[in-house]
């Protein structure tokens, strides 16, 4: 076969390139899916326009610690969204975002607030986690949500893609991205004091903001006036973490509870002894399920 004709030469390049592409696509290593699953989970949670009967707000303890499915099953099929974000603050911005996700037509409009001292501290980078996904360019959003499976075939091959099977000494963070905003989590092996140092440092330099607490009461009052039932509770964590928060953060649970109830909210008292944290801060999957059942029981009682 002669390839002297110029047209054949271009065609030959095209055919050979396509064949090579197919071979590489079949044989190549693919990058770990975790990053994509993580991005897709948060993006869907953030840009989702669906409305819910129940919206839960708070920080990472909340999105790891409450299962919307368990709540929904126990609450007779009410739709539930876990709207927690890392380092989310209980401030006007997150309150308004939560309210937007509430179904205005529902007869059971409920907001559940998972209170942690961390979420009541004013910070310059507050709600960055939420903003990272709400501000993601449209093209990137499309790529993550619709084209990933196609584009990953042509993703650059990196050295680290070959190392996936290699054993690592680092603890494995098991994270299951569940629908409606919950991440069921565990760490193997677990370190139940892991978070203590960073929280101790943080609370030594940062204290709960009175301004944010005032906003919290005011918002509760406004929601109650609109016919929304507002529930709140101090989110369970490890005993050690609770001691750090109580001694360093300036958080006064008694006072908060009293004022919150005066504003029309309903405070849930949950026995913290039932739950287990894998890192000293966040609840593991099993505890999250138990907590979700307890919360739904409390909601049914009140």
């Amino acid at each position: 076969m002669k390839f002297n004709y110029k047209y054949e030469r271009t065609l030959f390049v095209a055919i050979l390139a396509i064949v090579t592409f197919v071979v590489v696509i079949i044989l190549r290593p693919y990058p770990d899916e975790y990053k994509h699953n993580y991005t897709k989970f948060w993006l869907k949670k953030t840009i989702n326009t669906k409305k819910y009967d129940v919206v839960i707000i708070g920080d990472s303890r909340v999105y790891r610690g409450l299962s919307p499915k368990v709540l929904s099953d126990s609450l007779g099929g009410l739709s539930v969204l876990n709207f927690g974000y890392s380092s989310a603050r209980l401030n006007k911005f997150m309150f308004s975002q939560a309210e937007k996700r509430l179904d205005k037509e529902s007869d059971n409009k409920i907001i559940i607030i998972g209170v942690t001292p961390n979420s009541l501290i004013a910070s310059s980078n507050e709600n960055d986690h939420y903003l990272e996904f709400s501000n993601m360019p449209r093209e990137e959003q499309m790529e993550v949500l619709y084209f990933y499976d196609f584009l990953k075939l042509f993703a650059p091959i990196r050295k680290k893609d070959f190392k996936q099977t290699k054993q690592s000494n680092k603890p494995i963070y098991v994270q299951e991205f569940e629908p409606n905003g919950w991440i069921a989590s565990n760490k193997i092996p677990e370190d139940t004091t892991e978070a203590f140092d960073s929280y101790t440092k943080f609370f030594s330099a940062n204290k709960v903001s009175n301004e944010m607490i005032r906003e919290f009461y005011l918002q509760t009052k406004l929601w109650v006036e609109k016919g929304i039932r507002v529930y709140a509770f101090r989110f369970p964590t490890s005993e050690g973490m609770k001691n750090i928060e109580d001694s360093l953060s300036g958080f006064n649970e008694e006072l908060l509870l009293e004022e919150f109830v005066n504003a029309g909210g309903k405070w849930l008292n949950l026995n913290a002894n039932y739950y287990h944290s894998y890192d000293g801060s966040h609840l593991d999957k099993h505890s999250a399920i138990i907590l979700s059942q307890k919360v739904s029981l409390c909601l049914l009682r009140k």
Binding site: R9, T10, V13, R28, P156
Partner: protein, 471 residues
């Protein structure tokens, strides 16, 4: 719009589909080129389209006026130059100028902050402003010199000025070369189309595989300059940068030339294996050829060139190199880059030392390395954030310590080696037909094309902008 973006793929596909329909009719052809080029440029920031249109309108009408009123030709040329240099000064150099005035006034005890008074939008350097301004200016200068007839077709002029393949990073195409091509019905053969494809594939390979993978080595070194004191490490880093900038820029030029070939147009060669030069003078006939010839024709020669006394030629060369440095960026590091080249060129002109080493192949290799050393030292200033950093790095390069620790990994060494091999060794072998016989030329050619296409997709780097966009 970047050549290495998904949107450019769509743009290119639509453009060449329409081109098949428009190319046979002159007006349709010119309108398609102009509108597509405006879309290409405006994709980055549509506001700066007004700048290119303003600059173009000025030179279009100045060109006509020079022809119509020959007695006032100097005045019109002056208007064009002031307009073009003025827009460059305002949008590229205003921050630099006012910063230096502030610095001078501070040293005399005046506490001024003139830079703070510059409107924000003037602190953004419009992409490719130096390229299209020079291209536009050369049009009026050529008309002034009676080397070119002004066009009366405004679409032809804007098609020339805004031609998207070369609009933002060159090559700088002369009006006398491109304007006549735009009027002719483009004829492309299968050979042209294949050659165009080859240039485009090679261009993308240089940019996306070589330059973009070399970039992290360089960026890491310049961000964490204290990471290593090793002389070896800094020579490797600067070698990586020398090849990064070369592959980045020549890759862009190759893509531009390939796209032009598909349109039936011809852009001159912009890079001709510059790192194989055996003198600095030769380097400047091989590196960014369209810019060096622009400076030669519109700065060096009008200043007097090398005519007359030797020192006058030296002064003209120094001025040209310093202006060339400043053209690249509003920072003293670029001026010093130009000065280093001027200094070494001056030594070469005066002492003709390179000729001594041309005698045999061993001394020729030594000469090649010595030229590289000069170019590499200048690159340090080109890449550094400030003079302090550049001096620190040059200090490390010439400390000749025995610290052989380098934070580079095996892959980095491979990349640098591929850069050197591709540019120097393979060039010498392939271009002289020593690497393989003619019989195998076709198959090797096709195999390389396929390999490059596959590598572009699967081994591409992190997708940086082209370095020369900032100029």
């Amino acid at each position: 719009m970047l050549f290495n973006s998904a949107i450019f793929l769509v743009f290119g596909f639509v453009f060449f589909a329409l081109w098949q329909w428009a190319k046979n009719d002159r007006n349709s052809r010119l309108i398609l080129i102009t509108l597509s080029s405006f879309l290409f440029y405006g994709w980055w920031d549509w506001r700066f389209l007004f700048l290119i249109i303003g600059s173009g309108l000025l030179d279009f009408f100045v060109g006509l006026s020079i022809e119509k009123y020959p007695n006032r030709r100097k005045l019109f040329l002056f208007v064009s130059i002031i307009g073009n240099i003025g827009s460059l000064a305002a949008f590229k150099y205003s921050g630099f100028i006012f910063e230096n005035i502030d610095f001078l006034l501070h040293s005399y005890g005046y506490n001024t902050n003139l830079k703070a008074g510059i409107p924000d939008f003037m602190l953004i350097t419009p992409v490719g402003i130096s390229f299209y301004t020079f291209q536009s200016m050369s049009y009026t200068i050529d008309i002034y010199r009676n080397e070119l007839k002004p066009t009366r077709n405004i679409m032809q002029f804007f098609a020339y000025l805004s031609m998207f393949p070369q609009l933002v990073a060159g090559p700088i195409v002369r009006a006398r070369d491109l304007l006549p091509q735009l009027l002719k019905k483009p004829q492309t053969t299968e050979q042209d189309r294949y050659d165009g494809l080859k240039l485009i594939v090679h261009g993308y390979f240089k940019k996306m595989v070589l330059a973009d993978n070399l970039a992290p080595i360089v960026n890491q070194a310049f961000v964490h300059e204290n990471m290593s004191n090793s002389t070896l490490y800094w020579w490797l880093v600067i070698t990586a940068f020398a090849f990064q900038i070369y592959f980045d820029f020549s890759g862009y030029s190759d893509i531009a030339r390939g796209l032009a070939k598909w349109m039936g147009l011809n852009f001159n060669l912009n890079f001709n294996h510059p790192y194989t030069s055996l003198s600095l003078r030769e380097f400047w006939t091989r590196w960014h050829i369209s810019l060096s010839t622009w400076f030669k024709d519109y700065v060096y020669i009008p200043l007097g060139g090398s005519k007359g006394k030797k020192w006058k030629g030296d002064v003209n060369m120094w001025i040209t190199m310093l202006v060339s440095g400043l053209w690249h960026g509003a920072n003293w590091t670029f001026v010093i880059w130009g000065a280093i080249h001027a200094f070494f060129l001056n030594v070469e002109r005066r002492f003709r030392w390179t000729k001594v080493l041309l005698k045999n192949s061993v001394t020729r290799v030594l000469l090649l390395l010595l030229i590289m050393v000069q170019v590499w030292v200048a690159w340090v200033f080109f890449r550094a954030d400030d003079i302090h950093q550049a001096l620190f790095i040059v200090g490390k390069m010439f400390s000749f310590n025995t610290d052989f620790y380098t934070p580079l990994n095996f892959g980095d060494f491979i990349l640098i080696a591929v850069g050197i091999m591709r540019e120097i060794w393979i060039y010498h072998k392939i271009d002289r037909n020593k690497f393989y016989s003619e019989k195998w030329k076709f198959l090797v050619d096709v195999a390389l094309m396929v390999l490059f296409i596959v590598l572009i997709v699967f081994l591409r780097g992190s997708g940086n902008e082209f370095i020369y966009f900032q100029f």
